[in-house]
Symmetry: C2
Subunit: 450 residues, 2 copies
């Protein structure tokens, strides 16, 4: 594939980077060449044995600039990673080279008037803790919140806990500025502001090395966590939609699980009766007063409630949502894999119901309600009882044929996943910042064709 | 109409209320028997000469209970008012009696964790000022925010500035508790919590005397005010819809005016070029970075921007929005009146466009984007060049025939306005708290029929 398989004298490389932390131990390099693509049996197979040659761990932008210059000089592939919590193999190098681990760049520059400026390696939980000192918190986070870095989330993520209010990272206003280091002969640090951030947002680390980010924060409400159970899945789903549409109720999470998914959550067994369908909610304390009315309207049963003041005690419900649901299910049954879907805007949830009945136990429904273009719709990370690749693709095709958008998590090719087509602006920017095509090579179909 | 025209010995009445402030001066009583229904030529005609006999101004709940007992004993009609800033004649007594002016009850009980408890006569601006000391503010307010009371807003209002994020007062979660004093033989103060508040919410003061309220607050963002002008009205309207749908942008107001409405705002003339259509916006400071991109996408021109730190200096844009638009227009041309509409959910805004072209200059388009059941749609307070009652009704009927919901502001009959049908729960509650039908009599069709 192009000119990737170059001969590199790694001793010379390391010498050129004197002062920058490097890891050459093979076991550690192999570990840092991984992410959580193992949720997919397909990716597990396709990415087996793919490792980098060396890990570089810069601590400052100046060091990143030096690494970039040396990699550009020697034409060495560079795969950027944060905590490696992603599930799409985007942290796995197809052509060896440098694994650029950004997790040492943990400086929070400033938090002012609801905006934070920070380095790419800051962990989401660390930012949140700092922001809360002044009454703010992050707008959205994946379920890997405790370990994931902001740079990794922006490069590879799309939304999560909080998206029911703020939409997704790609939505205008959820990312204010980015600084990236180029892989040119003379690398530069470029600041992108406003709409220009989209040139790098959700580009899986192929469009420059993100070193700093500026993001808007959300007001830190006192949040309450709740579990509501239902006898019937579609009633649970309709409850989720109604809560999502209740503009007067401030919320951060609306997750709905069809049975038997709740049985995978051992730690919560006492709150989840056998064969029940469940909604996991995070709601502002000031909205708590009116929740029983809505729960009653849908015949739900409140089985668990954790007050805002106990937020840091015991389990947190969000740990069981988004792709942590898949993690918990796989810890019980490792043959389980998952889908990522966006259902069409339809408050009666007909397509959800159709898929639920059509696939039965083979595709277990896991809804995450989010805002998309101003409206609340169910995203889904359905659990799939995996049999064969053919059957998995058949399941995906059936969903697509019925109007469900699938961001296929069983491919590392960007266009075959959620994006479908590379943004021409992103491609143009890539050609400028990565003229030798060194960043995470082999992941973009549009570049292979050329 | 029923048994309202009773003989009351007002000297005896006043003596029975010894210690409670009363106003008997005819000019003052007449003034306090008014609201802003004069925006409607129909109401102006129909309510001409309607005045109360006496004004009572209680300072405490204990005093309200005494007034209620005396009024129930003598079967005296009671019309409750706050600041009288409403536009539907609901503060105008049809059958004389007592005007119960709640504006002395101004105690703010507490503000904690984003919830406020306060007396009904607290002015919205006063509450806001107090709430901001701890980082909160009111979720929504009418354009009469400086003078309107919270009790009056809940009884007679529906939403306003802030509804683009939090929906309307009627939405579950925007009102947590209410205390009302009944007009029974032995009046009680009843606390309603959760869904029960709907028995009194938006019931125009016919369902008990609201003495206290508990409402959730919103985080007090630093807000920026902006004017964007457009050459074409429908482009301005589409921009408003797109901004409303932008989940990553935190906003408080999206108002769109068709030309020539901006010409009525003399104080803002320099920012509003001749024949331009304009959007008036209030957006969080942290969303400012990304606004130029959206403005550019719609070919708008930013002509005015007031920073958050200057919020208390000079004019505030919200003073020109909602029904203050009508006020400003009428100060230039008193023949102008208005409609209140809710357009159907349709992002292409086809019905808006149809009405805009069909009526031309006779019905000048004034859109207020709000959230309704989880989606952003344009409400409208169109300015109407009034000619005859027949023509006004024709205009209303044409809108209704084309799927536009009209909350007719030219009637004081509740069911002929926005409500269409009295909520059976509200009627049932009314029969309990007002067994003699003394509260604001003559305004409910359902009771006249019985």
């Amino acid at each position: 594939m192009t000119s990737m398989e170059v001969e590199v004298n790694w001793e010379v490389f390391v010498a050129a980077l004197a002062g920058v932390e490097v890891i050459t131990d093979a076991a550690q390099v192999a570990k840092l060449s991984q992410d959580y693509h193992t949720f997919s049996p397909i990716l597990q197979r396709d990415l087996a044995g793919k490792v980098g040659d060396i890990v570089v761990r810069p601590a400052t932008e100046a060091e990143v600039l030096r690494v970039a210059a040396v990699c550009a000089w020697y034409r060495i592939p560079v795969t950027v990673r944060g905590a490696g919590t992603g599930n799409y193999g985007q942290c796995v190098p197809l052509h060896g080279g440098v694994i650029l681990d950004m997790s040492r760049m943990q400086r929070i520059g400033w938090i002012e008037k609801g905006v934070a400026r920070l380095e790419a390696g800051v962990k989401l939980a660390a930012l949140d803790k700092k922001a809360r000192e002044s009454g703010w918190e992050i707008r959205m986070a994946p379920s890997t919140y405790r370990t994931a870095t902001l740079g990794g989330f922006v490069a590879g993520g799309s939304g999560g806990i909080g998206s029911i209010t703020y939409g997704q990272l790609r939505d205008r206003g959820n990312l204010l500025a980015l600084k990236v280091v180029t892989l040119e002969d003379e690398p530069r640090a470029i600041e992108l502001r406003g709409d220009d951030v989209q040139k790098v947002n959700h580009a899986w680390g192929v469009n420059g090395i993100i070193t700093e980010l500026e993001i808007p924060l959300a007001p830190a409400y006192p949040w309450v966590e709740l579990i509501v159970t239902f006898d019937d899945f579609m009633t649970a789903a309709s409850f989720g939609q109604a809560l999502g549409d209740a503009d007067g109720i401030v919320k951060k999470l609306i997750t709905v699980f069809a049975a038997p998914i709740p049985t995978y959550f051992a730690a919560l067994r006492q709150y989840l009766p056998e064969e029940s369908h469940a909604a996991f909610l995070i709601v502002a304390e000031s909205s708590l007063e009116v929740l029983p009315g809505l729960i009653q309207e849908y015949g739900g049963k409140l089985t668990y409630q954790k007050s805002a003041q106990d937020a840091n005690k015991g389990v947190n419900l969000w740990e069981f949502t988004w792709n942590h649901t898949t993690l918990h299910a796989r810890s019980v049954d490792s043959s389980i894999t998952y889908l990522q879907s966006l259902f069409p805007l339809d408050k009666s949830l007909q397509t959800v119901e159709q898929m639920y009945h059509y696939f039965g136990d083979e595709v277990m429904m896991h809804l995450e309600f989010i805002r998309v273009n101003g409206a609340v719709i169910p995203a889904a990370l359905q659990l799939v009882r995996y049999t064969t690749e053919e059957r998995l693709n058949e399941i995906i095709r059936y969903h697509e044929a019925n109007g469900v958008f699938i961001a296929n998590p069983h491919t590392y090719i960007i266009e075959d996943g959620g994006r479908k087509q590379m943004d021409p602006e992103q491609l143009k920017f890539k050609q400028m910042v990565d003229p030798y095509g060194l960043m995470n090579p082999g992941k973009i179909k549009a570049l292979m064709a050329s």
